[in-house]
Symmetry: C2
DNA sequence: CCTAGAAAATGACCACGGTCAATAATTAAA
DNA sequence: TTTAATTATTGACCGTGGTCATTTTCTAGG
């Protein structure tokens, strides 16, 4: 029979997460070191890995949490009416996702879960984002020749492409939005 | 004044690359260890890093080389006439790019160079691929409402999206091509 | 309370990528 | 040929993520 989770366990876990958030706040996601986290949390290194599968699992959790707050905000908004508005609405999220090269890499790596049983926080947010976009696209009625879910996946693909160029010398003179809008127009408003 | 590169240097470099290729051939890209490479090449560890900035730089070189061979083949082919044919033509390349999760991750990370001066082998192949597609799309004349280079970038974005799903539990029941074709149809043949 | 057994925490240890001061080999000029 | 300058190689060492047998703490049953 499985015993209830001890209060101690929850406290330790909370301390580890808090310590990581502190480091991120005072320097960056990239600068986070497991050794530094356990030092601040006052635990041994092994304890970290008893709570999180690996360092990236904690990153998944923290970054996924941040993304979820952006999605909460998006859900409050009315459906955008134009490709331009859609891009505009997604910009805060896109800016966060590309705030650091390291963050973008983690997001890419975790955006699709290899197995159903390990759909993590970030992968879940991608599912949520598609749902939000499907609702928006249903309302806006851009294209009637292809299903809404295909449209939403396309928006996702172009958003990733636009974001990737932020780290690409050939394109980073342009802002993410400047790259995103032409894609969206061509995708959602052909002809 | 810069001296000529020593023959010894080229030999050492060739031995390192050959050793790495051996390991990849007998196991996998992921299994490559710097220690094992230098052991087989008969050099010291430091020598490796005198020739390559880091482990990934050698991966960039080797994977970029493989991709280039696929592009050589694509350049020999006539321009595809339909979205389906385009997807079909790109499948061998897509299959290689997703032969290992690790390989796909490296490709994603190196597909855009952070600075003009360090456009590496993989980043260069992405430029080449866009050029090939621009020629194809010019010939095929799918869409006249948007420029060819935008069309080509879209094909790229959807190819990445279709490939990514190979490692995603939600979609990997479908083949890459099954996912790629609907995107391409919707992108290149709207209405 | 006491105790058995489960859950949690520990820290020495390992794997592996990467560094750098010291050394060896090569080259061009005297 | 000798020598000085340049280039290539070396391997001990480090940083950091991750493991696991052992120890400590907690909990339920008597």
């Amino acid at each position: 029979m499985p015993r209830a989770i001890q209060k101690r366990t929850l406290e330790t876990r909370a301390r580890l997460i808090a310590a990581a958030e502190e480091i991120i706040a005072s320097s960056s996601f990239e600068a986070m070191r497991v050794e530094e986290v356990v030092l601040r949390a006052g635990t041994a290194k092994g304890t970290f890995f008893a709570h999180f599968k690996d360092k990236d699992a904690l990153m998944d959790l923290i970054i996924g949490g941040r993304i979820d707050r952006y999605l909460d905000a998006l859900e409050q908004q009315p459906a955008p009416r134009t490709a331009e508005d859609l891009a505009e609405a997604l910009m805060p999220l896109a800016e966060f996702m590309t705030c650091e090269r390291y963050v973008f890499d983690v997001i890419l790596r975790y955006s699709g879960a290899a197995a159903v049983e390990d759909i993590g926080p970030i992968a879940a947010t991608f599912g949520r984002l598609v749902e939000i976009q499907e609702r928006w696209l249903d309302d806006a009625g851009f294209r009637s020749d292809i299903p809404t879910d295909l449209q939403a996946e396309g928006v996702q693909a172009f958003m990733l492409q636009a974001m990737a160029t932020k780290f690409c010398a050939l394109h980073n003179a342009q802002s993410i939005k400047e790259r995103f809008v032409p894609y969206l127009r061509a995708w959602l408003e052909p002809n």
